[in-house]
Symmetry: C2
Subunit: 218 residues, 2 copies
């Protein structure tokens, strides 16, 4: 299981969320019944129903919970736009440098299953959209800062954000659904090549900015 067993005691709602995560990982979305969740939980099914009127309500809270874990994970600091962008790509593709609440590939699988319900579920779609917009705004802000500082060319920040997020989303989904374990790695090297040719200013490239990520401010 991806949840750390040495975590401190948790409240009931957190315990229900973790039980839902385990049930989802073990049984898949199609078999995610209230009973399957209760089986992963040290209290009765009645407690689930006390906290959530319907399975749908529980799953909406669960998606909020996953997305908040995700947003914690992608917080990247640092003043240098090139470093921040590379750290963000690394975290989105492979998970946070310090292990988060969940195993990265388990979380990717769980998110894929929830996502596959979104075409039929307005509430899921709304939450996923807000999440997307938050991450997109993060990338756009980094790219704008890089252009401002003369590190990046005058690219369209929205184009960069869309391509990064779509390729990372696609690569993570391939990674858990294909018999290939190199898709995320190859995607990272492709994104490195793209940043080099599309984003970084040639002068900065010549000074080795892309190789070690330590670009000086202009």
């Amino acid at each position: 299981m991806g949840v750390n067993s040495d975590d401190p005691p948790v409240d009931t709602e957190e315990a229900i969320m973790r039980a839902t995560y385990r049930a989802l990982c073990n049984h898949g979305y199609a078999n995610l019944t209230m009973q399957a969740i209760a089986d992963e939980f040290d209290k009765t099914k009645g407690v689930l129903h006390y906290h959530y009127d319907t399975k749908q309500d529980l799953l909406v809270s669960f998606l909020e919970y996953l997305l908040s874990a995700f947003q914690e994970n992608i917080a990247v600091d640092g003043a240098d736009p090139a470093e921040r962008l590379e750290a963000l790509i690394e975290t989105l593709l492979f998970g946070p440098p310090e292990r988060g609440r969940f195993d990265h590939w388990e979380l990717t699988t769980a998110m894929l299953e929830i996502r596959s319900e979104a075409p039929h579920n307005n509430e899921f779609r709304r939450q996923l959209s807000r999440n997307y917009e938050t991450v997109e705004a993060t990338v756009v802000a980094i790219v704008e800062a890089g252009i401002e500082q003369g590190i990046f060319r005058d690219v369209d920040p929205e184009q960069v954000a869309t391509l990064l997020l779509a390729s990372i989303n696609g690569a993570r989904i391939y990674q858990v659904t294909l018999e290939r374990d190199d898709v995320a790695e190859v995607t990272r090297s492709s994104l490195d090549a793209i940043l080099e040719h599309w984003l970084y200013c040639p002068d900065e490239l010549d000074s080795g900015a892309n190789a070690d990520g330590t670009v000086g401010e202009d």
Copy 2:
């Protein structure tokens, strides 16, 4: 429904596949029972069981059926690698120029639901992998031809293929799961920018090769 109503009469297996597609579109994977499929079918549930021992067997055949429709769609002709690559991107993102057997976004949604089962299903994963490898080989062959003809730089064809396929997969999934209808369009413009900066040789760019897609052979 995406299936053309003016198609000629079909055999029983084709009729079962179409019924499965309709049931999947109407009810989602989580509610895709043999009864739901039978309800979309003009014969009895017994006929389903006569052809397929289990729902699992039926779904394996259904995935083969979807992937074969997909492979028909991505067949691109033409001698010029730049044109072939752009036609392939267009078809993968938006569907074939002449309407195929299915509506493109319905097919994307159905494939997403099947894909979300793949982490738990070896047979689905195997089929999706073979499909991925076929499309990947198509992109690699186009890129190799472009390098050979001096139209493309000496890029790594596998990196190009992985990035194109991951970003298109991710963009299609965003398109059907977010409250945004522009992700596929913005991804196309991002891919145009990438091809321009990463792939096309500068000389060819200067001669307008990227703008009208009519690159002369060297």
